[in-house]
Amino acid sequence: MGKKICWGIIFITIAINVVMLQWTIEAYLGLEYEKIYGYTIVGVVSAIIAFITFLKWRKLEYTSE
């Protein structure tokens, strides 16, 4: 997995998390509690993926000189 792919994945996770936060707030205001959990799970998993991808990028970035 190259560095550019890591960049792409990280930006995709940002997009996903923006949407998840928006949907979560909408569901919360609509008292649709059962939907909130799904959105939170997706958001947290996406954040974890972003972090793991960052670790991978860091490894590539600082050892490929």
Partner: protein, 177 residues
Amino acid sequence: MTDKKKLGLNKKDSNDDMINLVDNLNRDDDMKFNRRAFLKTAVGTSIALGLATVPFSVRAMLGMAEEEFERTEIAKTADVPKGSSVTFKYPTDNDPALLIHTKNGDWLAYNSACPHLMCPVFYEPEKEELVCPCHKGYFDLHSGQPMAGPPQRELPLIEIDISNGVVYAIGRKVRHG
């Protein structure tokens, strides 16, 4: 003693522009604001956004108990002629609501706090529509859905029951239609 003057850090004994390329006034910024820092910030943003959904789930868990609705008297049918409305509070005293008797004889009830910025929504009998005068928000009378203006969500629907000339509130649907 030599005539050589002491040279500064990174200075060469030459006046050639291509030699003394060390005067980067933005050096500190270049160390702070660069490609690597940008990506780290992007990762932080992504994690922050993802984790920002968690408090809503926690609040949802704490308030997960189903709303329990009491059968509450709103008004007597004789007191609300066609083309008029009355205000009431349902399901709690913090939830203002509107009971509407349309010109066609239909009975409708909605929570009347505008989803935009919580201004009170009014029934406009001439045009048979629900209006939030604060920012010109319009709602469909028969569905409570936003029609125009800033509101993005529908008005919560109050379920009503009419018996023996009395209108009762018996439930509420926040999402409907």
